[in-house]
Point group: D2
Chain length 334, copies 4
């Protein structure tokens, strides 16, 4: 039986995930959409016979022809929808952040734990990227020894005018924070943020920033976020272990020699860099829903990321180290 | 309407393509299979409700619930099935070689031309590889100037005991020959083959071989086939143009520094290297069938490749240059 | 006229520099040696006719047949010898550190300034490395825009038993500190040090360490020192500018494909990595002495490096940021 | 005692070697120069006190204050000077070609053999390049197994108007031919030359060319010469062995990310690429002369290269394979 999926939010990311769900047409079918802008949902449905439009996300989540929910609405609305899906015992994929406050994340974790089984997957797509998976495997294999340092650079060529300094932490660095936790297999215990001279291309934006995260077992993650890097969308990662080092390679198909140089290509945006990871992420979610399992990034991962980004924002304000304290990790997530 | 596909031949490649077709379940459905070993076809059907087993490829091609045919049977049987599909006016995807003789290839081209439209796609999957596509785009863009030389190295770690010296040409080099024609946008007019000292790992196999192909406009393709290269499955390609050079990059996700070295990974086999290209190839075929078009490698490409491999085999025997003469290319293929 | 050089200290580095001076036999000749261990100096002289042994460094510096002095004795003795050379108005090359305390460095700067001309060159050989020079040129050319961040990783495969935790700062990181100042063209104003989990290969050594240096114009230098990195002697450097990034490339002559990998070589020790830089450094010093000029790293650079390493050591102890305050830079050094 | 060197020919290369000899001022001194253009020799001597000008190369070779001779005159004059030096029992370094005809090379070999000891070194500087030396070591170590194929690409950005099609073989490919013999440790037995479409940048020059050399033990060297490659001076080399492959790496100090690309530098000319090799070559020659030994490329290497380039020129003319027959290699050269 194909999983009947309802999509809450049909903005840019919502549309891309809809396209992905349609390519999985044997495994799932999109039966319902909703959007804060009802006309956007209606426009979407017109092109797709058999897709019903619901007046609200909550209506959609409650609908009988919806087995599972994909939430790509605005971040501030995530918690409400995810909690509703849990209440309805329906699997839910939620784009990051899981929720914008530690309290809401805690509420989701509590609800899911009360449920006794995992229903939530959070959209940390890097975990589905082949290169990051190789990096993690190398750590697990012991090839480079126990990890000591993780470098992560997250560089965007530019950001829209609506982008704020805090978004560099809760929207952008959140991916590096999650992948640090995942690669190191460890939790954050302290955060410091340094703010180098501003890149003049970004006006008054606090950009770049350097986030230093201490992990409970002593490894340190050094994260750079640069959102006006101009030259491309460049995601760098390196783990320094006790006996070796593993580094994300350039992912470039062809080297051109021309005019005194040899050159390869740097991705232009996150789509180009992470499209295959997004594809695998959505397919994995659909398959896990179909198989009544849940293997992707969890509510706990969403909770931990939100706690860490909150601490980072505080560290920027008070200009010194912030200790990170988390609730105990429920057994459901081990 | 999903395209109803019949698969002739359910050996190793057939199984992989079946898997690919199943992942395209909204676009197509597999309705029929056949195999020279009927029990293999039956075993396949058992696992797939709704798939009928036909006693022969010809029966399958004629069946009413088959809209399009995918041929992955033994090379020597391809011509018969492709001709039958053309006769039935059914689109057909045929693994390389299109046919094992120039005469049979000619017969297929003639039949398709008589038909007035393209029905045949040949399995030259490299044309769907992202790196080769970048290489071709660089030529088209004029970035490196007009092409003068194309280097192609096709290295297998090892081959099974059943592999013969001639297969290095008609089974292995055929991919390099096709991709040379495609990248250079030109036809072969002469072929020379050199045979270096044999690799002792291959026993009496004539391995490696160096094929030099002259193209009609003067570019030269230098092709190496090494089928006992031991270290990995390594596909190298480089175009030397009048003002620059473009080279396939290493496709490796992570660099590891360990024990005095920095190292990346070489693919272990053709699956690892070309799986995404095979996926795109089959999807493109299914979509073109659904859209009543045909855009992939054509009968003419299959014909040209078989003529060239035939000439290369002759060049090995007579130990000197063989002129390649082809029929005029019908308008259908321009 | 060949410059007559006296060498104070004929330990490991002293011997290597002696070898370098001998290769410059048309430009200079070694006329005198001394060593705390007089027998070592005598052994050296036995093999070199015409080289006189002096009972002490001060005697050597005062000798009439010594035009210029090369100091490679123990760090704690540097200040005395350099001050004596300045007093004698003789050019002096001093291995790093210029002196072990800020006070002694200040004394040297003051003496040289009083002299009215530069006599001192400090052994920061990275400034003579072709790759670092390219990096600096790229910044100067504006290719990557104004620098925002400098990453520097300094990894030794291992260190002798006599190596102490503080040496990671004043002996090892000192090179990264100097090269950061030189590449960024700026002075240090604050330092923080993070200490990740210890590498178990180093016993009780505080290793690795992460030094974060703020520069007066706002750029940040992120320095990693790992002295038990096992896999090789690896010097990494990257400058993130406003519009681009420049990174030291791997310096490796041959790529080998073998056993499923493609691999290059990581240098085994500092000699292998920096030998050509040491050669150029010594030759440049000799030529500048012969030409009555002084162009290499100055007393001021030695002073600034010692101030910064002192601050870094304090930052480790007090576990927070230390402000760095330097005297005004005398005009002699601009 | 410093070796007293006389330089025959003070053109472009002669001047560079003069500069190199001067840097070895402890080991040798230049005492004499001559040139077909006497005023050039005089101009050179004016700047160098103690250097005598001789009216001819033969006069210089016979002079009492000349211990060893460096020949960088026009290729057609090499044989006469080298034979004169052998007759005078003076060590001689001769730029390639040793002589322009097989007969003259044979004469030199015979004269040297009659002499009973090696006196001649030929200017195949690639043997002193660190990357080629690593390549050869990898073969010797057995890391890649017995060599089967050697690829060599020799690309110049452009050539002067005086450059002729034949020079691509006897002036340019001669380096690849020598290095193939040296890397493979084997002699040439057959040569074929293919001539792709001409690069329009080179007017009527036969450019590029593809030389295929068969070696006596069966390995094949595939040599490309492109003298209007525009993008840079690019020397590529790859050995395919029975179990692995070794390739010259890009020799580039810094990677720059800018404008959607990551780029490294391709050398601009042979000086930039091979200067360190030239330095080592001349120093090695001077040291071997001083030590009464001879270890560099020999007369035999010069003979074999001239035989091979002669065969390649014939192969171009007759448009098919030319067998290469050499005299037996005298024991002096084993």
């Amino acid at each position: 039986m194909a999983v009947r999926v309802g999509v809450v939010g049909v903005g840019m990311i919502g549309k891309e995930h809809l396209r992905r769900l349609q390519r999985l047409s044997g495994l799932c079918e999109v039966t319902a959409v909703s959007d804060a802008d009802i006309s956007a949902a209606q426009a979407m449905a017109v092109e797709r016979p058999g897709v019903a439009v619901y007046p609200s996300g909550l209506d959609l989540i409650g609908a009988r022809d919806v087995d599972a929910v994909l939430v790509t609405s605005k971040g501030s609305t995530h918690a409400e929808y995810v909690l509703a899906a849990i209440a309805a015992r329906k699997p839910v994929f939620c784009e990051k952040p899981l929720a914008t406050t530690q309290q809401d994340c805690q509420r989701i974790v509590d609800a899911e734990v009360a449920c006794g089984r995992r229903l939530v997957q959070v959209g940390f797509m890097r975990r589905y990227d082949a290169a990051y998976q190789s990096l993690r495997k190398l750590v697990a294999d012991g090839t480079i020894g126990r990890p000591l340092i993780f470098y992560s650079a997250h560089r965007n060529p530019s950001v829209p005018a609506s982008y704020t300094s805090d978004m560099a932490i809760h929207d952008t660095a959140v991916h590096d924070i999650d992948v640090a936790r995942w690669l190191l297999g460890d939790e954050v215990v302290g955060i410091t943020v340094a703010t180098p001279r501003r890149n003049s291309r970004g006006g008054t934006l606090r950009d770049p920033i350097l986030i230093q995260m201490e992990m409970s077992e002593g490894a340190v993650a050094n994260i750079e976020v640069s959102v006006n890097a101009a030259y491309g969308y460049d995601i760098r990662g390196e783990i320094v272990g006790e006996t070796g080092v593993a580094t994300l390679a350039e992912s470039n198909p062809v080297v051109v020699k021309h005019n005194g140089n040899f050159c390869g290509h740097v991705p232009g945006d996150w789509r180009e860099r992470f499209n295959p990871a997004f594809d695998r992420e959505i397919e994995d979610w659909v398959r896990s829903v179909a198989g009544d399992s849940a293997t992707g990034p969890s509510s706990w991962d969403g909770y931990a990321a939100t706690v860490a980004t909150g601490a980072a924002l505080e560290a920027v304000t008070i200009r010194r180290r912030v200790s990170v304290t988390m609730a105990g990790r429920p057994n459901l997530y081990t």
